[in-house]
């Protein structure tokens, strides 16, 4: 079984929104037609986005940290949005675990968006059908693209490699290793949706040492009870002219 997913490293995300922009650009240019985008430069801009970068402040001033938090569909292994769909437009692909919407079958009843605790589904107010992140299914299998570019648009755009794409069911894939070795976690685990996308936490490298570790216990000078007489010039003092 394959389960394609993203691993998002909160330790390196700088909140530049490049993934948001590239996602919108790729997905508004695809064969499914443009994504809704009203008054983009006007008073009340609104539109459909598959990916957003949010910003949180953790802690209380002055001990605060800013966390940039990208959020898109998590392609749950047990997606609550799929069984509620009355038409079967919402489905999870057997072959790679991507959760998709068949835009030709969707009746736009919004029930699946009620059934997603993450708010990952947005109705396209022009086409009147539900839309969501496709994990760039129209890129990742496109053999006309160079192999290195067969990745979701958001992953390609990320300047800090905060987003890694791969198969989380393959224990040796980059994403699985990252999840395992760097403490990858899932969002809202309380609902049992088993999101496939994982997040890597903030990590800090602390060097911890104890005082006795700074002093050499088996210092030979100590052993021979050798005292340096500071009043007399040492060899260094004599020679350092």
């Amino acid at each position: 079984m394959t389960q394609l997913a993203l691993v998002i490293d909160l330790n390196v995300c700088v909140g530049c929104h490049a993934c948001v922009t590239n996602c919108k650009e790729w997905n508004t240019s695809g064969s499914a037609g443009a994504l809704a985008d009203d008054n983009p430069y006007g008073k009340d801009p609104t539109g459909t986005f598959f990916n957003r970068v949010q910003t949180y402040e953790v802690g209380q001033y002055p001990k605060t940290e800013t966390v940039h938090f990208p959020k898109s569909c998590l392609h749950c292994e047990d997606p609550p949005c799929v069984p509620v769909c009355p038409t079967g437009a919402s489905y999870k692909r057997e072959e790679d675990g991507i959760v998709l919407v068949d835009y030709d079958k969707c009746i736009g009843c919004r029930y699946c968006s009620w059934a997603c605790p993450y708010g990952a589904r947005e109705i396209d107010e022009h086409q009147k059908v539900m839309k969501k992140c496709t994990l760039c299914v129209d890129r990742i299998y496109d053999e006309s693209l160079p192999e290195a570019e067969r990745q979701p648009a958001c992953v390609l755009a990320c300047p800090t490699t905060a987003r890694v794409f791969g198969d989380v069911h393959d224990p040796d894939s980059d994403v699985s290793v990252a999840i395992r070795e760097q403490g990858g976690y899932q969002l809202m685990p309380e609902w049992g949706t088993k999101p496939s996308n994982h997040y890597l936490p903030r990590r800090k490298n602390h060097v911890s040492y104890k005082k006795h570790e700074l002093e050499r216990v088996d210092n030979p000078l100590k052993k021979e009870d050798y005292q340096v007489d500071a009043s007399e010039p040492s060899l260094d003092d004599v020679t350092s002219w």
Binding site: P83, P117, I123
Partner: protein
């Protein structure tokens, strides 16, 4: 959640239509079993069934306004194995068909005796009515389960949701039956009014229980579980965009606490207090006006009740959409 008027009208109208049919059929069963000595005339049954069908059709029309692509609505019957919405889409036409047939059999006077058990004569309409009753209860359950099955909408995720859809739909239908009786067959008023009062008290107990339960609920999802950071002080500084989106419009009612509380007060008065007083009055001094007040007050109150029900649902996705930078 942001209450959608299409769904408010759908659930209240079909709930009332189903309740009206249940009222008619209850009366017939009581008469057949010799519990009461008066039964509705065929005209009363036909008019009642016609009104019930009318309400179901109005509900169906209201539901169309909820769909982005109503021309594809027929597809909604396909996923009945997993989706309560799909089950509702299948059962609703079944209820409409069976209630129409029930009304037609009465209207045409096809009193065909199917069998006799002792002194009890079971005719064709009684059999059709039995199937219609099963369909009506299935529809109530399907409608309620659409909301009750969403486990992270904790306010809805309870058997009380289904019970309340059944009880509130039934009581509005029985009250409407009492009003129709006042027009067509005043001798039936005590029977329907009595049942309405019993159902009203039951509905009050269960709706009250649901209000009390929801008041004490604690959200399982917090900003900590939403972004997975273990710290007691987390504030959103930006939700990622400065305009609106579906996420900011569809999932929150945007009203003040005072407004919400007023709606609760209004529906408690209009659904329970006023109709109860009117129905008790109708037992002693039946009049069309009193029962019209009871029915209209109850229906308008149910619109407020349903609005409150939707607004009360607290969707965890709102955690992600708190602050515009």
């Amino acid at each position: 959640m942001q209450p959608a008027f299409s769904v408010i009208f759908l659930t209240t109208l079909i709930g009332m239509g189903q309740g009206l049919f249940l009222a008619l059929y209850t009366g017939q069963v009581y008469f057949v079993l010799n519990v009461v000595d008066k039964t509705s005339t065929d005209i009363f049954y036909s008019i009642g069934s016609a009104v019930s069908i009318g309400l179901l059709i109005l509900g169906l029309i209201a539901s169309v306004f909820h769909l982005g692509r109503p021309e594809r609505a027929w597809r909604a019957a396909s996923m009945w194995r997993t989706s309560w919405l799909s089950r509702e889409v299948i059962v609703l036409p079944a209820v409409m068909g069976l209630v129409s047939l029930y009304g037609l059999v009465h209207f045409m006077g096809w009193n065909l005796t199917v069998m006799t058990i002792g002194a009890v004569v079971i005719d064709l309409s009684l059999i059709i009515g039995l199937f219609a009753t099963i369909a009506v209860f299935s529809l109530y359950i399907a409608t309620g389960m659409i909301y009750a099955c969403l486990k992270f909408l904790q306010e809805w995720h309870s058997p009380l949701t289904v019970i309340n859809y059944i009880l509130l739909g039934s009581v509005s239908g029985f009250t409407l039956a009492t009003l129709i009786a006042a027009h067509k067959q005043p001798e039936l008023i005590p029977f329907f009014a009595g049942w309405s009062i019993v159902l009203l008290i039951l509905a009050f107990i269960f709706r009250g229980a649901s209000l009390m339960r929801n008041k004490r609920l604690r959200p399982k999802s917090t900003v900590q579980t939403a972004i997975g950071i273990r710290h007691n002080q987390i504030k959103q500084k930006s939700m990622g965009f400065m305009g609106g989106s579906v996420n900011t419009r569809d999932f929150f009612h945007g009203k003040t606490v005072f407004f919400i509380r007023s709606i609760k007060f209004i529906f408690l008065i209009m659904v329970f207090a006023i109709p109860l007083a009117m129905l008790i009055m109708a037992l002693f001094k039946p009049s069309v006006i009193i029962l019209t007040i009871a029915t209209v007050s109850m229906y308008l109150g149910l619109l407020a009740e349903r609005w409150y029900f939707f607004a009360e649902g607290n969707h965890p996705q709102n955690i992600y959409y708190q602050t515009i930078a």
